[in-house]
């Protein structure tokens, strides 16, 4: 009986491997019933947008638990485990707590800007998902300038941070938001240059085209351009205000930064917006660098969108991993990292990629020969560049630091005498 049901489902117009069949069938029903053209367009747009918003909503709730639990386990502690089995109801508890808190607004703050700032922080992250391909025919808006659309939407976040910081009428909030905007603007350049390397190689700015390129040549772009992947990963984790670049929310430094004065659900919206932006950045990385819905013909068995969501959570685990491991940078260290390390490496990456594309186009060698050569060459050059930068730019690594310690000069009777320059006791 269940087998019969399954065969009905797979033989019918509804095939969950490609959800565009579902929306196509609905559109055909409407057209047969004699509906006008604009109704079909509106219904398909609503279906796609509804799916994306459902995914975003689910993500915002699930990721609260995922983040806190995984970070907790990485730091040898338990994470939330009281609000339900394995702490699975923790997001529900968080949501109820935030909803029942009073939404305070300082009287001298500018009311409209204060309310609009969290909304403006969240919305670009959500409508970015419209250009991402979820399956072979499942793109809500197959823009030909999809990559530029990603960059434009992520550059709108800086304005929202300023609005939040300024309208709080609080000098710590303003100071914190100025630092964050300086950081956001500095990290936009390595992001653009790293993505430019990807666009140069694939020859198209449309995200669906990039995934089809990876399918055609059967190589995910992370193997072809590891340097661009690393640059993009670190630059976008700075754009997301995640550790190691989370000076915006460093409670030990500037209270709360730009969301000091926010409470209740407005703060909840900032918190959710950070999680949503993290997932959107993971989605972009898995589309551009890891192949999106394609995984070496696996998408004939498993629906493409499930592969995609799996990859999104894989990259999100990488983000959580760096958060749980690395300490926080100072603001001047962050800006130095952007300008002195990431930007020159990204520019060198572009020169390299342009040379490779030229060699590919001008000589008649086939892709089957050139792509393994490029994978090996780019990997070696990436490692060489990183080692060169560390050797030239980083402060010297000292296994046993020889800084002056106070007790080196105080004669404490019970301590054994430590000769200068050796390991401190």
């Amino acid at each position: 009986m269940p087998l019969a049901l399954l065969s009905i489902i797979t033989r019918h117009w509804y095939d969950i491997r490609d959800l565009s069949n579902l929306s196509g069938a609905i559109e055909d029903r409407i057209a047969d019933a004699g509906g006008p053209d604009w109704l079909i367009y509106v219904v398909s747009a609503l279906l796609g947008a509804g799916g994306i918003v459902a995914f975003i909503g689910g993500v915002a709730i699930i990721n609260i638990w995922v983040e806190r639990r995984v970070v907790g386990r990485m730091q040898s502690r338990l994470g939330p485990n009281r609000a339900g089995p394995f702490g699975l109801l923790q997001p529900v508890a968080d949501a109820i707590k935030l909803m029942q808190k009073e939404v305070l607004q300082p009287r001298t703050a500018s009311g409209l800007i204060f309310t609009a700032a969290p909304i403006m922080f969240t919305v670009p992250g959500i409508f970015l998902m419209a250009v991402l391909p979820w399956g072979r025919n499942m793109v809500l808006a197959d823009l030909d300038v999809g990559m530029l659309f990603l960059l434009a939407a992520s550059s709108l976040g800086a304005l929202a941070v300023f609005m939040a910081g300024y309208s709080s009428n609080n000098k710590y909030a303003l100071f914190g938001s100025m630092r964050v905007i300086a950081m956001l603007v500095s990290y936009e350049i390595p992001i653009v240059l790293a993505l430019l390397g990807v666009v140069l190689f694939t020859g198209t700015m449309s995200l669906n085209g990039i995934v089809l390129f990876q399918e055609q040549y059967r190589v995910p772009i992370v193997m072809l351009q590891p340097l661009a992947f690393l640059i993009y990963f670190f630059a976008v984790s700075a754009e997301l205000n995640r550790t190691p670049a989370d000076i915006a929310e460093a409670e030990s430094e500037i209270v709360g930064g730009y969301h000091t004065e926010y409470s209740g659900m407005k703060f909840g919206l900032f918190y959710a917006a950070e999680l949503i932006n993290a997932v959107v950045a993971s989605a972009i990385i898995s589309t551009l660098f890891l192949g999106g819905w394609w995984l070496y013909k696996l998408d004939e068995l498993v629906p493409g969108w499930m592969i995609y969501i799996g990859k999104i959570y894989g990259v999100y685990f990488l983000f959580i991993w760096t958060r749980g491991t690395l300490p926080r940078f100072r603001i001047d260290q962050l800006l130095a990292f952007a300008w002195k390390w990431l930007t020159p490496m990204a520019i060198l990456n572009i020169v390299l990629v342009a040379a490779e594309v030229l060699i590919w186009e001008e000589s008649g060698w086939s892709a089957g020969l050139l792509i393994p050569v490029y994978v090996a060459a780019n990997g070696l050059i990436a490692v060489a560049l990183i080692v060169a930068f560390v050797r030239l730019l980083a402060p010297k690594f000292q296994r046993f630091p020889t800084r002056l310690r106070y007790y080196d000069e105080i004669a404490v009777p019970s301590l054994p005498a430590t000769p200068a320059g050796s390991r401190p006791a």
Partner: protein, 170 residues
Amino acid sequence: MIDDTGITVAFYVLAATTVICALMVAFVRELIQAVLFLALSFVGVAGIYVVLSADFVAVVQVLIYAGAVAVLMTFAVMLTPAADRHNSETPFWGPAAVLAGLVLAVIVFVAYDTSWRLTGREAFPATAASLGEAFLKPYVVPFEVASVLLMTAMIGAIVLTKDEEDGADA
């Protein structure tokens, strides 16, 4: 599949939004709110570009104007704290308004009076590839000059705002 009603309605709504935001830039009484309305009018103009089938220029407009120029202006407002933040007008605002009205009248008259050679052309296909070719084949010299201009502007901005330090380190 797009009906004409959709594009027409979109154009008029976006045009109204942009003009209202530009007027609010003129008449609102706080400088920061004026800068934020300016950012909103930039986004409205980007919508008009999309209606005019210029997708690449629309995305470039959002990326550069709303993402960078608006942030630059907010930084400039923040770096001049003791200046007048009330967005007030000079005593000559009356003649300025009259002049602006006259310029508008001339433009509208010319627009309605000229007989334009209209084409029945469809919307452009994607413009990014053709624009890339245009930048590298006929217009490569202005492209390179624009890059030199941007570098000069960057150096000029840094030099203008540098602190005077005696014996400054290199």
